[in-house]
């Protein structure tokens, strides 16, 4: 407590009792924290990029994985993620409007916009849970994880098949698609060769940390880790926003004479949105 007081009296800084950069202690520290956190996420996405390109054709394309939309049948690639992105951007807007209302000391305005930001965050978390559930559960059709053996590609190279994911070409299960391409099309295996592959391999549905119906298991690991780490940030953001929301209702900031606390949690909330912008691009689009 004594430290907090000396900081507020600007004794902690030195240098003529003025805070550096004309910003308060809390705001500066939030910026430094966000900068280091941004580097963590940059590291994760860089590692993702490395393995994605390293495994090339074995890596699933996100638009073939996330094709579901609530209460709708059929394929809707990217649509649901686009909606999630829209919700998070929208909650960023309501947050910045709460900050603006705080600058006018308009308690009603801050309450309204902060409340909407909370709702946006909660919807986003729910969407993420829904998306995770779908990914873990997988599709009706499933896929075949091939066992030991080898396969000769049309160009003569021999590839080991252990752990390779082969998907069914359609619901009749008459042909398997191997994740290597010939003239832009996946190599198809039918007949006796296919039957041998099915007998040697095993059927999998959905994804966990060691198996992934849609392709290389590392895709699942990165998906769970990166979106999970981001989701943890969203969750703690919602908790922080809720604490500040209660304080707004109790009139804590009205008494204090300023709503700078809203600005500080606002910085964190915008950062969460910012990270999602990058996750959206590098995980779902590229």
């Amino acid at each position: 407590m004594s430290n907090a007081i000396s900081v507020d009296k600007k004794e902690a800084w030195g240098g003529g009792g003025k805070s550096p950069f004309g910003a308060s202690y809390g705001k500066l520290m939030m910026w430094f924290f966000l900068m280091s956190d941004a580097l963590s996420f940059t590291g994760f996405l860089a590692a993702y990029g490395f393995y994605r390109h390293y495994y090339g054709a074995l890596w699933p394309s996100a638009e073939n994985v996330f094709t579901h939309f609530p209460f709708m049948h059929g394929d809707h690639p990217l649509l649901y993620v686009a909606l999630m992105t829209f919700i998070l951007i929208m909650s960023s807007v309501t947050m910045v409007l709460a900050v603006e209302a705080g600058h006018r000391m308009n308690k009603k305005g801050v309450t309204l916009w902060m409340g909407l930001t909370l709702i946006g965050g909660a919807i986003f978390l729910g969407s993420q849970a829904w998306e995770w559930a779908h990914f873990i559960h997988g599709s009706e059709l499933g896929a075949i994880e091939l066992g030991r053996g080898s396969f000769t590609l049309p160009n003569g190279t021999v590839e080991l098949t252990k752990g390779i994911i082969a998907r069914w070409s359609d619901e009749s299960k008459q042909a398997l698609l191997l994740p290597w391409k010939e003239a832009g099309e996946y190599i198809q295996v039918t007949g006796a060769q296919m039957q041998e592959m099915v007998a040697n391999g095993h059927e999998i549905h959905g994804a966990n940390l060691t198996h992934n119906e849609y392709g290389h298991p590392l895709f699942g690991d990165f998906f769970f880790f990166i979106t999970g780490f981001h989701g943890t940030h969203v969750f703690s953001g919602v908790v922080l926003n809720f604490v500040v929301f209660v304080n707004i209702l109790m009139g804590t900031y009205e008494k204090r004479g300023h709503y700078e606390m809203v600005e500080k949690v606002g910085l964190y909330w915008h950062f969460v949105d910012l990270v999602w912008v990058f996750v959206f691009t590098f995980f779902y689009l590229v």
């Binding site: 507020d8 860089a46 686009a82 910045v96 004479g257 949105d273």
Partner: protein, 122 residues
């Protein structure tokens, strides 16, 4: 508690009038439409790029450039960094950009090494 100990008003908190507030809100909504438009373009490009007939490399680069645009608007306007002092801007942006470039450099060189390694040994 700590603030009521201080007789001076808290000097770092920002306040503005109704008039300035109107201007600020207009700017906030303008940026919102920009962000929404960029996201829509990205999703449409992701779905229809094959029909348009441009290369995947070009699409990828467009995504990355558009993402950096979005990031700029969020950081500069919503996080208000554009209106902070130059010292604060540099303290945040310069270390991040340097270390991010360093990471990208490693992804490219190590990726190249791994590709060469596979070509020679398998």
């Amino acid at each position: 508690m700590s603030h009521s100990d201080d007789n001076k008003p808290y000097e770092y908190a920002v306040h503005h009038s109704e008039e300035e507030g109107k201007k600020a809100r207009k700017r906030i909504w303008l940026i919102f439409w920009v962000l929404l438009a960029i996201t829509t373009v990205e999703v449409m490009l992701g779905i229809f790029w094959k029909e348009i007939g441009i290369s995947w490399f070009l699409v990828k680069m467009t995504f990355i450039v558009l993402t950096i645009f979005k990031a700029f608007y969020i950081v500069a306007e919503y996080m208000h960094l554009k209106h902070e002092k130059t010292g604060l801007k540099n303290t945040i942006i310069v270390p991040f950009v340097l270390l991010a470039l360093y990471l990208i450099y490693h992804v490219i060189t190590e990726g190249q090494y791994s590709a060469d390694f596979d070509r020679f040994f398998y």
